[in-house]
Amino acid sequence: MTDTRRDFLKKFGAGAGATVLSGGIFSMIAGESSADVLRPPGAKPEESFSSSCIRCFQCASVCPNRAIRAVGLERGLLEIFTPYIIPRDQACMLCMKCGDVCPTTALEKISDDGDEILAKVKMGIAMVDTSICYSYSGRICGTCYYACPYPDVALKLKTFAQPVVIEEKCVGCGLCERACIHIPQAIRVYPKEKRDA
């Protein structure tokens, strides 16, 4: 009996040791997490997001637009499998299903009511690069304005359809970036962490 117990403890130690060792190597090669990524609507602040997310990727599964990805190593090892959005490929349409389905506090549950979204969602802020925007260079475009879910609230048009972002109201869904017909994009959404930096 003592023999099997000793054997068990030996194996236990070997398993734990091997796991901790590989975990050490893992955390050594896990580079710094990059914050320049758009999270799904209602996400926690970046510093606590990746520890709250259990990587069940149900938000990605429920997203009707396939905007949320949880694919792989793009964001470093510590943030692997956490959800993010590349608005140029597919932007968020603010249906708020991801928060509904999230089992943790990583994504807040927000109803799909327009005013509530405006008050609570802050994925990022859109910024207009006036040096390359069509409307600021003598051609009238305004495509971003027509894509915005909150026209005249979050995004206004000046004379000659020049877009102006109302920073306090912009939810950062990225529909304007996705719709922008200029290449490279003249309007882009930057994640909210950059705002405070």
């Binding site: 520890s51 997310c53 990587r55 069940c56 792989g72 349409m93 089992p103 109803s111």
Partner: protein, 523 residues
């Protein structure tokens, strides 16, 4: 009967893990394209997807609104959402508790069902539900066949049952100290779900497929049922919880086993000593030994006490209470076709050269699925060169930075001025060895400070691009980029074909053995 029930449950669980991402994907096709199977085939792939979508339209499409019905079941065995109620893996809940160090009631509630199931019925998740166990059983059948046909002896490394408890403890320590949910990184049933999700949604396979293949080969060639027996931390936790389970494997002590009979020990999935009645908490309740025992000495017996039933009743009251606060199920907003049509994907790169930032945007005109095409003949490159300086110039070309606020929240005068380069630039396109393929020169920006180049490539591959510019006064700049053109993202979908073939072979072997057994006259 026991085995048939178990096989049906296993089949259902496999069906669940495959069909949830499958129908989720068709659902998203509906909201993105929303027209017909023909249009889906035209725009998003081909014949197969078009027909699958047409099938979906003919079945679920007849319902008034199929989307909430399909959305009501989501997730994998790591975390499932059924009708708005979450059921999570115990390790997910524990991991969340350890990383955030806060008590979040819903997730603790969501692990209640698996915990109760394990406490009452033992390791049934392992034996009856886990898809990896099902795959491993098929692999086991294959292993037997390979040993019979090819090798007389195969290595069967015993890592020891203690190892998995060590892996559990070590992983918990890593979760606590690094704050990463490492269990979700390497538990194979989570990996399988994620891989299937990626396969259906984005048509890519990631390294998780290699990991699964590695495990399968490990179990096939190195160690029989190696992962489940010796390494799985989830199995370790479930074993710990099921030590006093009500459902237990009991041996009839009145009947004496034949001396040479080792059937139960040989068939045992977990490699336990069933013959001597020492199965213990490691038993995965699969009941194979019960079926195989020639003397019917073994039984899965259910026994419970009054206290336990009372505790269970209380637990159920606790569990059903929050459902009353009905869950909000939001419907899909109605989006038009034009709103959801995906943009042409672009690749963007940036470099800093001589004070300037050179940004390169590349487009390959092969439609939405350009990664999968073999000849990306038409490509466009957009080069934008600019210099960012902080100043107080408020001219029209100024670049307002909304993030640049001082502490009182009022904007300062200092702004980031973006000045675009507008001189002559040259674009040299090289192949991988550095040999020049083409050279383009533009005297002025094509439009709005952006230079546009167009090049026809003959074949896919990795190309080098050099952007030369000089602003006359001080600096000459050359920015070098590497552009992968139409290189498939290593899509190793062949792995799935291999897995499928293995599965078919395993099932065929299983069925063949059964039919043979029927032909052998008994007695």
């Amino acid at each position: 009967m026991l085995r048939k029930t178990r096989r049906s449950v296993q089949f259902l669980s496999l069906l669940f893990i495959v069909l949830v991402p499958f129908f989720g994907y068709l659902n998203s096709l509906r909201s993105v394209y929303g027209i017909s199977g023909f249009h889906v085939a035209l725009m998003n792939g081909g014949w197969l997807e078009g027909n699958l979508y047409a099938f979906y339209e003919r079945t679920f499409g007849l319902l008034d609104d199929p989307v909430p019905i399909i959305d009501s079941l989501k997730g994998t065995f790591w975390s499932i959402t059924i009708l708005g109620f979450n059921i999570s893996d115990p390790l997910a809940g524990i991991g969340y508790l350890l990383t955030t160090k806060e008590v979040y009631f819903p997730i603790l509630l969501s692990i209640l069902i698996p915990v109760l199931l394990t406490v009452i019925l033992g390791r049934v998740f392992c034996g009856w539900v886990c898809p990896i166990n099902t795959i491993a059983e098929i692999t086991d059948k294959l292993r037997k066949w390979v040993r019979k046909k090819a090798f007389t002896s195969m290595p069967d490394i015993n890592l020891g049952t203690g190892t998995k408890y060590g892996v559990l403890a070590g992983s918990l320590a890593i979760v606590l100290f690094t704050g990463a949910q490492v269990f979700a990184y390497f538990l194979p049933y989570v990996t399988l779900g994620r891989e299937l999700h990626n396969l259906f949604y984005f048509h890519v396979a990631t390294y998780g497929a290699y990991y699964l293949l590695f495990l399968l080969l490990f179990e096939l060639l190195v160690s029989r049922r190696g992962w489940c027996r010796y390494l799985c931390p989830s199995g370790a936790l479930l074993s710990l919880m099921s030590s006093r389970s009500w459902l237990k494997l009991v041996k009839d002590q009145s009947s004496v086993c034949a001396d040479i009979c080792q059937d139960c020990n040989e068939v045992c999935q977990m490699g336990l000593n069933v013959r001597d009645g020492k199965s213990g908490a490691e038993c995965s309740q699969c009941g194979d030994c019960v079926v195989e025992c020639p003397q019917s000495n073994l039984k899965l017996k259910f026994s419970f006490s009054k206290t336990a039933v009372t505790a269970l009743a209380f637990a159920f009251i606790l569990f059903f209470a929050p459902i009353a606060s009905a869950h909000h199920m939001s419907g899909l907003p109605h989006y038009g076709y034009s709103e959801n049509y995906p943009q042409i994907p672009v690749t963007e790169q940036e470099q800093n050269v001589g004070g300037y930032t050179v940004s390169l945007t590349s487009i390959f005109f092969q439609g939405v699925k350009r990664e999968l095409s073999s000849i990306p003949f038409d490509s466009q490159f957009y080069v934008h060169i600019y210099k960012k300086t902080v100043g107080s110039d408020t001219s029209k070309q100024g670049f307002k930075d909304p993030f640049n606020k001082d502490k009182s929240g009022v904007k300062t005068d200092a702004e980031i001025i973006e000045k675009s380069y507008a001189g002559v630039i040259t674009l040299v396109i090289m192949n991988e060895d550095g040999a020049e393929l083409a050279k383009y020169t533009l005297d002025a920006p094509s439009e709005e400070a952006v230079y546009r180049f167009r090049h026809y490539f003959k074949r896919s591959g990795t190309y080098g691009l050099a952007v030369n510019f000089s602003d006359g006064t001080s600096s000459k700049g050359q920015a070098r980029f590497t552009v992968p053109i139409a290189v498939t993202e290593g899509v190793p979908t062949g792995i799935y074909i291999a897995l499928l073939l293995l599965a078919v072979l395993g099932v065929a072997l299983y069925l063949r053995k059964k039919s043979k057994a029927e032909f052998v006259p008994s007695g």
